[in-house]
Symmetry: D2
Subunit: 489 residues, 4 copies
């Protein structure tokens, strides 16, 4: 489901970015701005940039898309001359919740200032926060990031440098995290030992410096060359002396990257753990064709997220690939008023069938996921209205039925169409002639890389790390947790 088509689907939590150029020749504001544009798909709720000019940290962050937050005036007001910078995007508002945790978070502590960017979710955040509060700490928001910041600060008091503090903090925190931390003099990247979320290293031309980013597409956006992924459990430090690594937490846990990064979240042009995301999706389509062969006249994908797998299915099956839909590229935030009938037509504003492609045809329709099922049902109805004789609907992922504790915002299980329903029951809602999902076995072969495994918890309920026994929402009584959701406070 493309997030422009289905507003209440899955959400990635965040994208992080950091850049260090010892020569000072890179226009840091433009670079982070370009990188955040490239990472915008990882989070549309808020974004921010932090800059380090001669050791002074400052920046800007706000709710909104990069293009909305970083207006011409805001960009002009940002300081020039930085040699280091970080940026962050956060996920889109999930209806009732508005969070107050825009990043990078700039903090002052005994050793100076620090900007923290975080992608992921800790499973022991609530426990750590309760402990910190019992020793007198105060919290401005409700995010894990503030917990990490406190631990970094307190560990910094006990260690000779920030990288040691990062490493020691990794002893305390459990779960998924890809961090980029900027201090007066250093830019540091760290990734949890399971490597749930991607994080990679790029090099600026002519040895000028280094870049850290959630996805390699952000390296391309700033003209940096891909070097390698940050290893699970690794701490990488970029400073005036170049790049160093601390690997004390490496190989302490199985590498279980989130499979949804390949299926859904990441941009097709990114490489994660050696595999191009576009290729993984083509492969998912090929596997689908093997698992669900069907007689048909044309294979189409739901734009944009189903197109790659549709091409793979067409290639494997020999059925011609066609363009079945036109997506309205101007639809951003529509406001449709009025009757239920009118609201139902909102899919029609965003998506229209190219009837000449499907009329009187047996159609194979490919998408990458079904969330609530209502949008899929409408799309299939659109095809039938346009004259499709048959609609065979295949999904390039297994049905997801369990919550994610590692950085993906999946709607409540009760809203997921696959929860507690058989394939037949799901299809009664969807209304396809045939409905098929990709098997978990095939999904695990997408990356074709032997050196790491996948977390498929959302499909199987089996998680690499024990899920939290308490959430922030439970630990902190209603007053507390809600009080953090004020728009600006």
């Amino acid at each position: 489901m493309d997030e422009l088509i289905q507003a209440t689907g899955l959400h990635e939590e965040c994208g992080v970015f950091g850049i260090y150029d010892k020569t000072g020749e890179t226009d840091m504001v433009s670079a982070v701005y370009s990188a955040l544009y490239a990472l915008q798909h990882r989070g549309q709720e808020s974004c921010g940039i932090a800059l380090n000019v001669d050791g002074v940290l400052s920046g800007h962050r706000d709710l909104g898309l990069v293009s909305e937050v970083f207006t011409k005036r805001v960009l002009e007001d940002l300081p020039r001359g930085a040699k280091m910078a970080t940026g962050h995007v956060r996920y889109a508002t999930a209806g009732q919740r508005v969070r107050n945790n825009a990043q990078p978070m700039i903090l002052h502590h005994c050793k100076g200032a620090m900007a923290v960017c975080h992608n992921g979710n800790l499973v022991n955040a609530a426990k750590l926060r309760r402990k910190l509060e019992m020793s007198g700490s105060i919290f401005h928001g409700t995010s894990d990031t503030e917990v990490i910041a406190y631990l970094l600060t307190q560990n910094r008091l006990l260690t000779p440098n920030i990288e040691m503090a990062v490493s020691r903090t990794m002893d305390d925190i459990e779960g998924a995290y890809s961090l980029v931390i900027m201090t007066h003099t250093k830019l540091i990247a760290a990734r949890d030992p399971h490597g749930f979320r991607p994080l990679c290293i790029g090099a600026l031309p002519d040895g000028a410096g280094y870049v850290f980013a959630s996805e390699s597409c952000a390296l391309d956006a700033v003209g940096a060359a891909f070097v390698r992924d940050v290893r699970p459990g690794e701490v990488v430090i970029a400073d005036h002396d170049g790049l160093r690594s601390i690997d004390t937490h490496c190989d302490t846990a199985p590498h279980t990257i989130c499979v949804f990064e390949y299926i859904y979240f990441a941009r097709p042009d990114s490489y994660i753990e050696g595999t191009c995301v576009h290729d993984a999706r083509l492969q998912a389509g090929r596997f689908l064709a093997q698992e669900h062969p069907v007689e048909a006249d044309v294979v189409i994908g739901v734009p944009d997220s189903g197109l790659d797998a549709a091409l793979g299915y067409a290639e494997e099956s020999g059925i011609p690939y066609g363009v079945g839909f036109i997506k309205n590229k101007y639809v951003g935030r529509t406001f449709i008023q009025g009757s239920q009938a009118q609201r139902e037509s909102s899919v029609r504003i965003k998506l229209n069938v190219i009837s000449s492609t499907v009329k009187d045809k047996r159609v194979v329709l490919i998408d990458d996921s079904i969330v609530r099922g209502t949008t899929s049902a409408r799309i299939i109805q659109l095809l039938r209205d346009a004259g499709a004789k048959e609609v065979h609907f295949f999904v390039s992922a297994p049905p997801f039925t369990h919550p994610c504790y590692f950085g993906t915002d999946i709607p409540d299980q009760k809203l997921l169409v696959a929860t507690g329903r058989t394939l037949e029951e799901i299809n009664e809602i969807i209304g396809a002639d045939t409905l098929g999902y990709l098997s978990v076995e095939h999904v695990k072969q997408l990356g074709i890389h032997s050196h790491c495994d996948y977390c498929t918890g959302c499909f199987t309920g089996e998680y690499p790390v024990a899920p939290p026994t308490e959430t922030m929402d439970i630990v902190y009584d209603k007053p507390l947790s809600q009080s953090g959701t004020g728009k600006v406070l």
Copy 2:
């Protein structure tokens, strides 16, 4: 060239829309809003909605996209209960000029009020305007539409009804026009005898009423069924008695529809003169493959406008179709500061190569047009940087070299890369291994419909109607023409 990728390309002038529901059951505000969204690709500079509630005309129009102009608050402020409405989108700002001619234009005259929507360009507007001014008329703006409105008004004084006034006005005006006019009681569509610009008729369900729109995709957006195209020279009236037609101007000139509607302007899901635009583009790709066969490993298109023809090329040539680029779907109005190097990277923000598709491959690259050549050159360079061994660049239209006088905003001839250059000279700028255009002969066969011909003036310099001997800019001295370009005045 997709307009999100190349800001200074070709521009369609406008999209028009009108709807009449005698039952009053359609939510007119939502309907026009949805239709304008579907027509947004025809004009991004300004838009407007006019409503007729019990014979009272009112509305809202402003500079900006539909989503920008029609905010929640503006939509709520629009009157409810209309049985008739019109809407309009205008083309994107071409650099230095900001025009003050947002539509629908609501005017008061002796017989009441009237809302006028216009797509096209008159060739005798300057002459008509001078004549009107000499008899005491005053003009608030510089558009042809105001000239048409005066003629309608004056002819209305001499004729028993508005449709006769429209017909008589068509005696006076020459050139390209698709009009939608709303009065107290009638909704009228009219199309010039050459049928330069598309205009079609739809029917609301259950005989509730009728819809006029520049493209059939707007009918789909409001749930109307396609009835037929308005015939060149026809005047169609929708009112309480149903649909009537005046055909006195039909068949008075050859039907010469603008070929660029198929190649570039119209949405792929629209049907124009019986041909699906997507099919015409697939066909363009097939013709390209016939004209320019080449040994290659993959066919890719420049998103989004070159994708259809790329698929057609792949189909005809047997070379596999691939996805070569990812287009950043969040890029709207970027603001890139800084150095020349940085500005050059703006293509990289909008477009990134999926390197696994092209690396070490011989690539066929398809686009629908080359305007200045600079963007094409950069895109080819991106492919080479990503490891493409060869890049064969084919364009699904002939080189355009002449101005358009019928509603397309083509940059000054001096800026067009094809003007005065041989194919080889163009390719020196573009940098492809092979460069090829679609022939004019093939372009004329795209619609596969015998009942009409194409205007190919921009490729050949041969126009169906004599171009104007004077433009508005020439007739009215600099002070006058410029004084109309103030942003709001």
Copy 3:
């Protein structure tokens, strides 16, 4: 009643301004901007600036205050180098009506372009407009100004120059008008033969040029010296040759300036017809003290509009002048939600009593008008709540009971507290110990200048010019008149 305190009081229609500097040394944008600030009290609904750079007219106008419409960005976008410019402010929105007639109106006609600024109301506008429409004219809005523009244009065809066209147009139009008209080469001021609305002439230093303005405070704002008022019926032309006058319409009617200019509309620092407005208000207070002597301890005024008359009353009566209220200077456009009780407190947000001034005192309270009576009643209650023993309320104008046809927007007669009520009945609503108005006889002596008389039609129902027998609203049926009230159309 200060308009910040009572949102639904009286409204001046407009303020006009024009400036011509043959040396080109005045920064025209800054000058008009400053002048409009000085005239802002004459109209808060919309404003605009038109500039003439080498004969080219352009500008900007919009709904809002000068500070809102002319943002830094808008000011920077206006062209530099003008030698001539005009500006205009229009009155504040009166509840349900939003008008579409922002000025200066820039128009194109056979002889070039023209910017028109108008303050006043024609009594024969409806008749003239109907006649123009019957000959084929079209109207974009509903204002008198568009009627005047048509007449100017048509008369321009019949006369050798614009000033003759202005003079001839004055033969046709009846009622109140102060006009400033800018053409390619001339700046022209004209005032109706009755001189209802003020209009004065200023001179730039060193003979550089001339200024026309509704009030002399705008001359001060641009550093121009006051020369004289434009005479009733006079046409004054400023161009490269200096200043010329056409007096053919002078002395054709009695000079009957609107008395409310002195009492309410004009700024205290302006001079109108030789009298300082502040002095006229002091005098009104002195007259009030003569008409309504009372035993009291302190005289206070309702800020800001009642303060001058309160000082005059104190001076004449010998009762000490005190500061009774503090007006919140930050209150602009408040938005008070909630209960009726809360809404009633909106006066309390804007105005608070300085209780030490009035506690246990017999208070004389002065204001310049009572419109609906509700605000006056609340203010008196505030004083009693603060401990005032007695409140004697005197108004520095007679009760107004009749409509104005000459440029003042008085609420519907049914809403006026004085309509059809005796003094006692009014005071039952107001709740003062004593209530008194200034007599019509005294109001006529405010200017102390023998050369002109006052229009006191709103107090007496006797008008210098016969009121219109039909209004725009009547002539044009509801559809037509309403269709002009769309926010932007």
Copy 4:
């Protein structure tokens, strides 16, 4: 100097407000909104509201005026049903500095959540912060308020309730502070033992609850009755059981209220320590007349801040009081471009002389302060240009020459005209015929209340509390202090 006339004058730090209504009948959003409007003069940089709905704290705060931050939409989004609320306004941006410390600050700690509002300045903030950081605390901003919040939190861990934590915190902090603190169940006010800044208690009607506010004008705005001032050193608790007081810090230091509250900061209708501010200013004018008698024809004040003292001078001297200036009430944030000459005219936009009042007169001009002298010089020149024969300029305060460490933002000493200059030297810059200041002796008699003394440190350099030996700016090196000044971060 009115802050609308002189943008770079003195600035109050803040205004605080809290309200508790056990009945829940007060519309809390409207109440705080009204109160912040009444306190807007105490701070124009930022503002905020915090609400307590059933123990849940939430709110909104941002840069801007109350009318800008609390738009209709923001107000509608705030939760309803609160029984407790606090509000805060902060001072206007002083040029280069933009601070990130909007309040109320909502914080989470081990015992729940807490909203903190603070007016004042601690002299030992830097020392306390350094100590906190050394034990692992992190800071998001640079304000004293965050230091106070940490101390409250840590003391809360050691004490049985919040009021004890407040009291214990008062052992640690030194300087000026008026605090309003809201927890889940209590609203608490506290004032430093010197009582530098005002803070008063009001009662809602019918015993429904209590209000705390910096000034009594905010009580009037919400319809609360004045009860008394919070005593220096007192902690007052409002909760479901009513009002309680802790007086352990009372009478531990001399009461030295800031004299500038009477002269400049507070609103004339407020009562502080039993004295009406308006009366204090009248008295200052009377003292001025005693100290600086002069032969003159009229006494005028610089609006708005000099008007009260001018009236007092007139009363004492017997010289008539006149209105010398009209202040443009529409001038908010002007943007004047262009030449130096034009910029100098900015005073003329804001202020114009009523020439009839001063022409050919000997004028006494009263203002409440001179900061840089440039504005005063221009105002005197305006009077001379308008024909004043003599201008005798008296200031209703002593020359201020020393910094304030207790909550007033005085420009750098180098910018103060009185620093290091004799009266004659100052007058060479000002250009009056006579220049006189109010003596320190008289200023100390303004309140006429024996129970407290004044802090006159800014006039004398003698402070009731030893000034800080280090400022935040010094303690925290440049990187740290600057990194907190980012606009949003």
